[in-house]
Symmetry: D2
C-alpha cells in the first residue's frame, strides 16, 4: 500500500495546489483526493491454486504416455520413447506436436541432454527444440561447456536472439524452461499487427525478457511471417536422444 | 535447429526465386542461402551456474541478519525482527531498504502473511509491499480468500494493474515472487524515454507479463514520474507482521 | 496497384508452394490466391473537398474578429489586436484560447515575427507559442539568424525536442505551421496509456516527425502529466508583438 | 516559452517540496530549479531556406527531362513522355525509378489523372502509384467520385491502410502528395527491427498519420518483408495516362 504518509500528503497538496491555481487549465481533471478513486473491484480476479502443477494447468505429459501428442509430419501416432517418467527422441521418428493448439500461454517443460561423447560438438550435441505455435523455436541444446553460435545455444530464439546468460545444466542433468508466450496478431490483409513475444526462464534464471520474435526461426535465411491461428507445441527430433518430462501449460 | 528440411528447402527455393526474378528489386539484399549467414558467435554468452541461488546473484537476506538493509526513512539501522531464517515487520519500525541500489534486475523474494483474525479484512490483512527502485510497488497482501480492490491485491502493481490471476498461498504459508524488472529511462529534460516494465511470477504462476509501470504507485491520485537513478529494494511496514526470506537479486 | 505481374506471380506461386508443402503447418492460414481477399470496401471513406480551407475545417480565425477566442486566464473577452486580416499580441493582454476544445486534429496556422531591433536576442525576439490542449507548446520564435537553445527555437517542442531543421522565414515574413496532433490517452488510475504525438511542418518542411510529447512543456523542471480531456488551442502573449492569421483546424 | 508564471511557480514549489520532503527518496534527482537546466545549445540546428523548393531539396523532376529516371525493369532509359512541365505514363513503357536511391525522406510530388470516359471504373481509372524504396506503394488513382475498395483508393497504402479521408481533386486537376517516409530497419538475421512508417498529406489534408507499413504492397496475398537497403522512388505504369510534375525530395 502507500509508501509513506508524509510523502503522499505532500504530493497530494502539491498537485492539488497546482491544479487549483492553474486557471489556464480549467479543462484539467482535478487529481483525485480520495483513495477510492483509484480502487477497482470488478471483475474479481480468478483464483488459481499454486503447486507443482497449478490448478488451471493442462498437463501435456505426465510421464506415462504420449496420448496428447502426434507426429508433426502427418498426425499419426507419436513414436517417441516413454520410460521412467520421461519421453525421449527416437531418431527418425520425427518431430512431435501436441494435438491441442494454443495461442498465448505459460509453458513449463523440463529437458535433459543425453550423455554423448566429446567428439560431438556445437549443434551436434543434445540438439532439440521447442516450437511455439509449431514454428517459433526456443532452442534446446547441450550448451554446457559446448560452444556454438550465440543465437543458436540453449535458451536462444533460434537464429535470432541469444540468451542473456548461459544457464545450462551439466550434461545428463535436467533443465527447466518456464516460457511465457504471447502469440502474434495479424491484420486483415496479412500484415503483422503485433509480433510474438517470449520470456524464457532457464533453471530459474531469466534468459529472454519479453523478446520480440521476428518470424519463423529458419535454418537458412530470413524469418517468414505466415498468417496463422493457434498452433501446437512441437518438440524436435534432431537426431540426439534428448528427453522431456513434466510438461504443463496454462492458457492466458 | 531447423524444423523440417523439406519446408526449409521449399522456402529457400521460393524466396530465392522471388528475389532472382524480381528485376525491379535490384536493391534487395539476396536472402542468404548459406546457414552460417545467420550464425553469430561473439561475444560469448556469459555462463551462470544455476541452483537455489544462481552463481551471479547477490544475496540480500540469507536469514541471519539485516546487514544489507537500513531504515528507508533515515538510513539508520533496520529494526525488523530476524528469527528462524526470516525477517518480520516490527510495527512502527518503518520501511526498510537495501543499502545497495539497483537498476534492472531479476529479484527472488519469499513472503508470508501472519495468522490474523477473520475480523481483519481487505487491505488490513497481511499488508506489505516490495518497492522497485524504492517507489514502484508490487503489492504484498494476504489475498487468500480475502477480497479487496483488484488493483490492490497480492501481485498487483499497486493501484495500477491487477494480477492476471490470484495465486496467493493459504494464510501462514510462504509465497514466492520472481520479479524481472526493467528501470525507466529519462530524457535529458526530465521526460520519460521508456517507462519501467515488470514481470511477476507468483508461486510459479505468471501474474504480471511485462506490465508497463505508469509511475509511482500512489495511495491517492495519479502516478508521479520523478527523474531518478538506481534505487533500493524497499519493504513496507504497513502494520501487519509480514515475514520475508530467501532474498536474492541478479543485476541485468 | 500491383507493381509487376511477374513478381507477383512468382511470389504467389512461392508462397502457395511453401504453405501447401508445409505439412507441419496445417494450422497456417493459406495465403490468399485471389486479389479480392485483401480488398475492403466498407465503410466508405469520407470525402473532403480540398482547397485553401478544406471543406471539413473549422475556421478559428478568418481575419475579422476574435469571436472564437477568449482570455486563457479567466475566460473574458480576448483583447488582442485585429487588423489587416491578422491578430497581434497586445502586451499584457495575456494568452488567448479557443472557446472550443479539441482532442486529435490537423491545425493550420500562420505567424509572423515583428520587426524588432538587433538588441533583442535569443528568447527575447518574436517569442510566442502555440499550445496543444492548452499545455503542450510548439514554440514560436524569430529564429531567423537568432540563435537560442536548440530545444527552444521555432518549431521545437518547447524545452523538449529541437526541430529537425531551422526553416524560419526572414523577420517580418509570414511562417506557416501545419500541425498534426494526437492527444494523450490516460489509464483509469491516472497513468499515461499512450503519450501525445505531434508532427510539425514548418513552411512546407518537416521539422517534427511524429515526436513523442513528454508532458507539459515547462519553463523550469521536468514535464508534468496531469490527466485531462479535450483542451483549447492557446496562443501566447510573451511580450513580443507576434501576429497570427489563417487559422483552421480539422478534427480527426 | 513558459505559459504562465504563476502556474510554473506553483509547479516548481510543489515539485521541489515533494522531493525535499521525500526522505524516502534520497536517490531521486532533485527536479531542476533553474531554467537553463533544460536548455541545450549544441549541435546547432541546420538552416534550410524555405520556398517552393526548399534549399536542401534534390529536384527529381523539373519538367524538362527524365535524366534522373530509368526503367524500373532493366535500368534502360525511362521512356515516359515529357511535355508542358509534366511527365506522363506511356503505356507499356513500364514503371520508372529514380537513379538515386533513398532511405528516410520528405517527398513532394504532384500527379494528375487523365480525362477518361465514365465507362472506366474503380481500379481502371487514373491508376498509378508511387513506390517508396521501390516496393511500398502509396496509391495513385482517380478517386474523385469513383468508388473502389477503401484500401486501394488514392492516398491508401495499397491493400493495407485506407486514407483517413478522400481528398482527391476533380478528374483532370492536379493533386499534391507530401510524403514523410521512414525506412524499415532490419536485424542482423533478417527480421524486422522497426517497420517502415509513412505520413501522407494529400492536397494539404492529412490522409496517413504515421501509418505502419506492413511489408510490400502485394496485389495478391500477404505483405512480404525482404531485407533491403536504400531504394528508388518508383512510379507505376498501370496503363492509364497519369501525369506527374514538381518532384523533389529531402533526405532525412
Amino acid at each position: 500500500m502507500k509508501m509513506n504518509k508524509k510523502l503522499a500528503l505532500v504530493a497530494f497538496l502539491c498537485l492539488s495546489a497546482t491544479y487549483l491555481n492553474a486557471q489556464d487549465h480549467r479543462f484539467v481533471t482535478v487529481n483525485p483526493t480520495k483513495p477510492d478513486a483509484t480502487e477497482f473491484y470488478d471483475p474479481e480476479v480468478r483464483v488459481v491454486t499454486p503447486g507443482a502443477i497449478p490448478s488451471d494447468a493442462i498437463v501435456l505429459f505426465d510421464g506415462k504416455n504420449l496420448d496428447n501428442w502426434e507426429s508433426a509430419k502427418d498426425g499419426s501416432a507419436a513414436k517417441w520413447d516413454v520410460k521412467d517418467g520421461a519421453m525421449t527422441v527416437v531418431k527418425g521418428a520425427g518431430n512431435i506436436s501436441t494435438k491441442q493448439k494454443f495461442g498465448d500461454y505459460q509453458l513449463h517443460i523440463e529437458w535433459r541432454s543425453p550423455i554423448e561423447p566429446e567428439t560431438l560438438k556445437s549443434q551436434g550435441k543434445g540438439n532439440s527444440g521447442i516450437f511455439m505455435q509449431g514454428m517459433y523455436e526456443v532452442q534446446v541444446l547441450n550448451s554446457y561447456q559446448n560452444r556454438t553460435y550465440r543465437n543458436g545455444q540453449a535458451g536462444s530464439i533460434y537464429k535470432q536472439t541469444a540468451p542473456l546468460v548461459n544457464a545450462t545444466s551439466k550434461m545428463g542433468d535436467w533443465n527447466v524452461y518456464d516460457i511465457i508466450y504471447t502469440a502474434p496478431r495479424f491484420t486483415v490483409n496479412g500484415g503483422i499487427e503485433t509480433p510474438a513475444y517470449v520470456t524464457v526462464i532457464h533453471n530459474g534464471i531469466i534468459v529472454q525478457n519479453h523478446t520480440k520474435i521476428q518470424g519463423t526461426t529458419e535454418y537458412i535465411g530470413q524469418p517468414l511471417n505466415p498468417v496463422h491461428g493457434k498452433g501446437p507445441i512441437s518438440l524436435q527430433d534432431h537426431g540426439n536422444l534428448v528427453s522431456f518430462r513434466n510438461i504443463w501449460i496454462r492458457e492466458m
